[in-house]
Symmetry: C2
Amino acid sequence: MKSIVITGCNRGIGLGLVKYLVKDKISPKYVMVTCRNLQNAKELQEIADANKNVHVLQLEVDKPETFDNFAKDIEAIVKEDGLNVLFNNAGYSPKSTRINFVKAEQMMETFSINAVGPLMLTKALLPILKRAATINKDKPLGIERSVVINMSSYLGSISMNNQGGLYPYRCSKAALNMITTSLSIDLKPDGILVTSVHPGWVKTTMGGPNAPLDVDICSKRIIQLLKTLNEDHNGQFYSYEGHKIDW
Amino acid sequence: MKSIVITGCNRGIGLGLVKYLVKDKISPKYVMVTCRNLQNAKELQEIADANKNVHVLQLEVDKPETFDNFAKDIEAIVKEDGLNVLFNNAGYSPKSTRINFVKAEQMMETFSINAVGPLMLTKALLPILKRAATINKDKPLGIERSVVINMSSYLGSISMNNQGGLYPYRCSKAALNMITTSLSIDLKPDGILVTSVHPGWVKTTMGGPNAPLDVDICSKRIIQLLKTLNEDHNGQFYSYEGHKIDW
């Protein structure tokens, strides 16, 4: 993999993925990472200062009207090589419990960030994803060719929902999983693989301090999974441990 | 079942359900049906003129700020009996094909109508749904007690997606299916059953003229399914023929 775009890297798993990638043997030529506010992303900027292959770009995933310009910025970096991997990691979860407390605005906002953003960003970056897939057409489906990873959650699995509640988050991730399956079919002729990933329950702002998993371990496992992606993973849902999850 | 609210009854399956219900043996005491524009709902008004148990109300399912007033109107009709059945039937499908043509606005609008509307309407009607469930607490789970039916589609089944595309519609119905499972858990202590239904591919404005199924047959089968709903259906997804569908 020569190039990867990862959204939402100011903190949490996104930041963990960048930290792991710059140390890893496969550290790509272009690690393009996004955050909503460049001023607030000090740790990310420090990583970029110390690693010339890391490019920090500003992006709000609920502003699809900015994606074409973002795609031009990415194209200016990767040029004729195209883009190997888009990792739709940025996400949002409102504090919300049972039916009595859910609000329409929460539903819309969470869907916009967690589902519409990844879909429209994939659409905007499609020409350069296709370019990488075409250049590497002799290689099997996977990160040496072209991949879209959507950061989902087991909370977005409808069949595993046995706790109820969490309407905005669960609905947005179920929709994202649907996007994964439709994209995997629509983009298969282009040689682009699409997969949903569950990152585990991780100690982040979203996961809270009681989560059993450290960001470092989760990030390492997700990059390991990324390396093994092949045709079997296309249009499927995998945990950070590499186990298949039912929709 | 003494009372039922059905949304989106100006045409298509909604209108078919009303036509079948007023002829059926179980014809409820209160058949409260909604449409976006009362002036355009001539056939529905004619049914109401000929059947005293039919009440036509104006409702736009993407305007949740109006739902509390709508709930008051329904309560004024059903009074101390509460509401037995809410049928979230109103839905929308934009013309849309592959990834190249999808728009963020379509995603948001379709999600608002097909997923957020049913959720927020259920929330608004919850006090009177609970009242019917409480009054009839000696009866088993089902339409003699209290039921929420969400009109989904097999196109909202992630595991059955083998054609791709249709992002706005598929995502909204996958989200609606998630709402069904969360509601079924959250409302179980209240004795309210919640199920997703696939109506078949029906000759309607949405289904088009090539659809194999007539509205009459589909409406009849759905009402038959409604009558048989029991604890086994709670939090599940059924076709109009009564077959269980995977998420």
